[in-house]
């Protein structure tokens, strides 16, 4: 049973000061998801198993564990797809997931494909528009300002680190921002291409791994990690994913690992890239907004002031507006009948 179905908006005030608002019965939620997964994969999609791209992060790991529990470990293909900017931890932890499940993962280094598509070259050229000295040996990431502590726009800066370890932060121009994002999106789209290669080969379905916060707020690449045949935790808040992880026996190191994007060569947290707040606080804000809870009540639970919660509520709305395009199916001129 999910928290959103177990707690009605009207009864929330007495519990609002507690982060327990997002507490779920992990055993029942697991049973609900795995039962639906069997129905979806075998009956609805008529596929023989599931492909899961595992990054060593909490979401893809929980999805892999849920698929193995629902379909049987022999019907789950774990794909590890590192590239030149990936943290070595991602591959190591991805292997640990496969070990914990008792399966053999498939390793596909996607760097050569990305080089062929000139992903790194295009990204570096975009960075040089604002940091002309950016060259071999430099590292980079893009970051957002904190949009909750003051009224600000979601305008990205690039942080670069020279080979001698000196960092500098420069606000991105429109062209540089679009160039960096367009180039790095090759990574998520390439991974999805590989996942569908194996899905075609084995008659499997492809799992998507967004949690509710990511799915709602558009934290995915259109036709990249946003593409999938099923998304088993898209209704589950991030804090609840951790509860499922504990119940499912996900290795402790993965449960303790901070959420990163693993997309840029400098380590980048999800909050500096997208959410502005620590994920557990962002989760509470999204839950509060979805359930019509006043900002003052969520402020107590999240240990923030009311003004900050109001800004977070506004930010949720503006990200939702952008996410509509990301989730939209292709538009047709008129309805096509008989399908």
């Amino acid at each position: 049973m999910s928290a959103s179905s177990s707690v009605s908006a009207g009864s929330v005030s007495a519990r609002a000061i507690s982060a327990d608002l997002l507490r779920i019965d992990a055993a029942r939620e697991t049973e609900k998801i795995t039962s639906r997964l069997r129905e979806i994969v075998f009956n609805q999609l008529k596929r023989k198993g599931a492909v899961v791209g595992v990054s060593g992060g909490i979401d893809s790991t929980v999805v892999a564990f849920l698929c193995a529990r629902a379909l049987g470990k022999e019907r789950v293909l774990i794909l590890l797809m590192p590239e030149a900017d990936s943290s070595p931890d991602s591959l190591r932890l991805g292997r640990a997931v496969a070990d914990a499940l008792g399966t053999r993962p498939v390793l596909e280094d996607i760097s050569p494909i990305l080089k062929g598509a000139r992903c790194y070259e295009r990204r570096d050229a975009a960075i040089r528009e604002v940091v002309p000295e950016y060259s071999a040996g430099y590292k980079s990431k893009i970051v957002l300002p904190n949009m909750v502590e003051a009224d600000r726009y979601a305008i990205f800066s690039v942080v670069v680190e020279s080979p001698d370890g000196k960092q500098k932060k420069v606000r991105l121009s429109l062209n540089a921002y679009l160039g960096i994002v367009a180039a790095t999106n090759f990574k998520q789209r390439t991974r999805k291409m590989i996942e569908y290669y194996y899905a075609d080969l084995m008659q499997y379905a492809v799992a998507g791994t967004p949690n509710r916060l990511e799915y709602d707020q558009g934290f995915f690449v259109k036709n990249g990690d946003g593409a999938a045949d099923f998304k088993p935790i898209a209704h589950v808040y991030k804090s609840q994913v951790y509860q499922l992880a504990e119940y499912l026996g996900v290795p402790q190191e993965i449960r303790n690992r901070p959420s990163t994007t693993d997309t840029y060569s400098l380590e980048q947290s999800q909050e500096e890239f997208y959410f502005s707040l620590p994920l557990e606080k962002m989760d509470l804000c999204l839950y509060g907004k979805n359930n019509g809870i006043a900002a003052a009540e969520i402020a107590l639970a999240a240990d923030l002031d009311e003004k900050e919660i109001e800004r977070a509520y506004k930010m949720i709305d503006s990200k939702r507006a952008v996410a509509r395009y990301l989730r939209a199916a292709p538009a047709l001129i008129e309805e096509v009948h008989g399908l």
């Binding site: 300002p145 003051a150 009224d151 600000r152 726009y153 979601a154 305008i155 800066s157 606000r171 991105l172 121009s173 429109l174 921002y177 679009l178 503006s318 507006a321 952008v322």
Partner: protein, 103 residues
């Protein structure tokens, strides 16, 4: 026509050409670009580039907030303040240079 009216019509024209795509959306000088769904944060970047390139100003990081950029009225007032402070800065710089030259 006062200069701020020129700014207003230039900015309105820029918004219409770049974000409305021929839609007949009517918006007032005080209407919020974000709330009316006219511009998102990527659009703000485009607006900033336009202001910097057209008026030769530099929009500082700390100036990137809705009070300065979220309506025709806010942008016009910000631009007028910015240009007059840069003009004062230029005069002060010129005076310093001249004093230096006299010494």
């Amino acid at each position: 026509m006062p200069m701020s009216n020129n700014f207003a019509s230039e900015i309105r024209n820029f918004i219409a050409c770049n974000f409305l795509y021929g839609r007949e959306q009517i918006f007032g000088d005080s209407d919020s670009f974000l709330n009316e769904g006219i511009i998102d944060s990527t659009g703000v970047l485009q607006l900033v580039s336009f202001l910097e390139e057209t008026y030769g100003i530099t929009v500082e990081d700390e100036e990137l907030h809705p009070d300065n950029l979220d309506s025709i009225k806010n942008v016009t007032a910000y631009l007028a303040r910015k240009l007059s402070s840069e003009e004062e800065g230029n005069v002060a710089e010129l005076q310093t240079t001249m004093q230096g030259g006299n010494a």
